[in-house]
Symmetry: C4
Subunit: 290 residues, 4 copies
């Protein structure tokens, strides 16, 4: 179907493409904000529906609202496909799959009934927000943060391994000391308790009752208290390093070769970040304005 | 009323203005400290009154004390209005509204009875302390801290968004895995549990009981343990940056153009921070000494 | 009594003074280590005695042990007084009072019986450890740490004030929302809960049960999560600043005017830190060797 | 036995030595990965066996699996001994003892029956992973981390001592205030509670119930909140210092005297880190290739 439209109303498709894929035009902005609101409403409805009293008393209202949202998402999904030259590239992209999963649950209830899992899958609509927020000014910060986290990767792996080793050894010890009669039913449960304690969460659903168990618990807690310093110290050091580097780096005035890029997406290859005023895609050469 | 007094006893009004609005004069200092003590006593009374045994046994004493405090606040409020040239500017300022709300509750009980909400509104008197503490030496630190926090704003927004996304996705998952039979009644409650766990608070009013739920909880805890490093790292880096900048900046001896400012407030336009020995308001030109 | 011995056996007194007050001589070291062990044993006995089963079954053994320790402390206390020129200066010094309080409890039981409070006072013997550890190499670190903490003082005061304000306002709100039927009996108890939550301790003895209360609790937790970053950031920045300053500062080779000081204490004025090989007290001129 | 083989089939022994002790050769890598997988499977089996339902229903399967693993470990242990020139050096090394303890439990059940402690000892197999991971790229990070932790040693000792002192004094106070009727049965249990609170774990198995106890608990929590800043600040400062030093230090191109070392272990003296292409052990001169 998308293939048919392609040659007939390319003018019309280009318009849709601009609205859906570009956030710099007024129409694109309105579309993005509308979509954001619909996603958030949809998420709130999913949550409220799970509250027993509300789910029972307003059953019909929830079904109607879900239908409206599903139809909206279906239209959007179809438009996304037909307004693009290589629809399969979109369909099997990360956000293409998320869009599909966000749209499908209600249709599936015809086959499987109103399963809880279907209800929950709709929570993944949340991930759609990420695409829209790509255009916000926060992205720079998120980049910096994720860079700091990524460069701390191996350190954090070492740290996680240490947490794991401590949990397994002390978990086994606590299982031997406290035993099933004090809630330490098995080694895995004992390890779960050890992680609960080491991370200073401390639910208290299981708690040591023998003096020696309590002594060992105190040791674990103080260790956890010390261990928490490690990831904090790492991220802190990495972050202050990366923000020092950044200070040195970017100053547009110093870079005459620097051009601002916009959010326009090529109709043909879906590549992003074209220069302002660019006429052709820098990736595949397809005309951008045409 | 304030308007009438204005031209009659301007000498008297000026005196009151000095006492109430200026903290540099001995009378002003005594007034501020007295006010601080009354506010703190008032807060302690509000708290004690809410303790069932005390509230019942000393009911009359609490009512009398409340009347004394209300009368004190009423007189102060009236004096604040009449000693100033533009009373409406004060009345609708932030602290003007706080002062009004702090004074009014007891009068409202004539109309609405002794509601709990009225009781609680009196806790807002706490905010009045801020005006008085504006004059302490801690303000410099608070400024620096709040500057560090403000400049970390976008980063913290990204971080909060991450916490939210993690909570919603894992909250939904835990709702599906544990279900209402283990206390995860609805998705919102499940998200609440997820925040309790992620922030390492861990009340234990709800706790996972299935092995897979406990495994997922362990994952959430370790994530929370790592995530706590992010705001700490951010604030730490920002703070050490801002304290480095500060070191470079202020040294009075190096700045012959620097003058000390005091807490005197203009009677006419309420502007602050006049130079020591200034004769006229730097903002509106009204005489300050006169 | 001390006064009498003074002139008779000054040789003997000097020997005792050396053993008790100086940690550099072999005899002094042995004395310190013995004292440390007795204090630790005494603390362990106090703890074990409070365990109901042990306290009941080994009552006599505990009383005998306590008598032995008390006699030891009494002898030590008397020797400390008689071996010094100005005994009153010692008696009313911080450690003099601690020594007295550590020695007296058992004697008081003749007058007041075996009160719980007397039992507990013996825990203060712990503080005696500080005098002995004064001589360890850790003191440099403790100094640096306490310096970092002290220079963070005003910042931490601002931070504590912020915690207090948040706790009072949110505590009052939670009291209004949840009320006595969910465990929020009074505003003080509600503030207690708020501090428990804000500091991420989360006992779970009180937990919100209404949806709005849980929402507010989530807000408090995330705030607490952010607030915890503030003291950490402060101490971290201060600490790295102070350790940079330190790097610049001390290098004995660069300071030909530098001399090593020992732990010898003047018999006359109790001043410390005399140079190695010093013959007279640098403070009062009393002979040190004589 | 190892001694006999030594002279007979030295060719064959050398081959085994290469496979078991060197991770740079293909055969050595395959051996390490196989061993890693067997250890992890063994650990998972130990955990699952402790789950009551699984342990009961699949008893035979667990015993068979344990036998297979024990035989595998036994063969490996014997090969390790016979393929080395100084077997006693290996047997009494840290990893030699760990290997022995990992192998022995099942054999001991013939003498002592299926004790729980034997079950648990098998958890120590986890430690065997460390030898294998020695060869991963994470080792550099772990070195840096452990260096940062080690150089923070004395600071952390001071900090731990502070935690201990606070816990003992406040623990005793809480025991006096709350007493056995609110769960503070003895001073040691009270100290345990104090550590639970100070580290912000907060199980809630014991919680103060008197107003003054709750006030003191709030003080402890805020102290704990502040104290947590200390190790974090320390590690953070140390870590950023050590990573600055590192930046200055190592750049292979700048060091023509630098040579890459491999994981080859000398058959004679067990020393490691020989240069690539080395023909003789740098420690004892034994031929490496031969």
């Amino acid at each position: 179907m998308g293939k048919d439209d392609k040659h007939i109303s390319s003018q019309w498709r280009r318009k849709i493409h601009e609205v859906i894929y570009e956030a710099d035009t007024p129409a694109g902005k309105i579309f993005d904000v509308t979509l954001l609101i619909v996603i958030i409403i949809s998420l709130i409805l999913v949550m409220l529906e799970s509250v027993p009293e509300l789910g029972r008393n307003y059953k019909d209202e929830f079904i109607i609202a879900e239908w409206v949202i599903t139809v909206f998402f279906t239209i959007e999904y179809v438009l996304r496909i037909i307004s693009i030259n290589k629809p399969f590239k979109y369909i099997f992209s990360f956000f293409g799959i998320i869009d599909f999963i966000s749209t499908i649950p209600l249709y599936l209830t015809f086959f499987f009934g109103g399963l809880n899992a279907l209800l929950a899958v709709r929570s993944l609509r949340l991930l759609r927000i990420f695409r829209i927020l790509k255009i916000t000014r926060y992205i720079g910060e998120a980049d910096k943060l994720s860079k700091a986290i990524r460069s701390s990767g191996p350190k954090i792996a070492v740290f996680l391994f240490a947490v794991m080793v401590v949990s397994i050894i002390f978990g086994t010890l606590m299982y031997l000391i406290e035993g099933p009669e004090h809630g330490f039913d098995s080694i895995p449960k004992s390890i779960y308790w050890c992680i609960v304690t080491l991370t200073t969460v401390g639910f208290g659903d299981i708690a040591p009752e023998t003096p020696f168990g309590q002594f060992l618990a105190a040791v674990i807690m103080i260790m956890g208290y010390g261990i928490i310093a490690v990831p904090t110290g790492i991220v802190s050091a990495e972050y202050s390093k990366s923000s020092k580097e950044e200070e040195k780096e970017v100053n547009p005035q110093d870079y005459p070769d620097y051009r601002h890029v916009n959010t326009q997406v090529c109709q043909n290859c879906l590549s992003r970040k074209h220069q302002d005023g660019a006429l052709f895609c820098h990736n595949c050469g397809t005309s951008l304005d045409d």
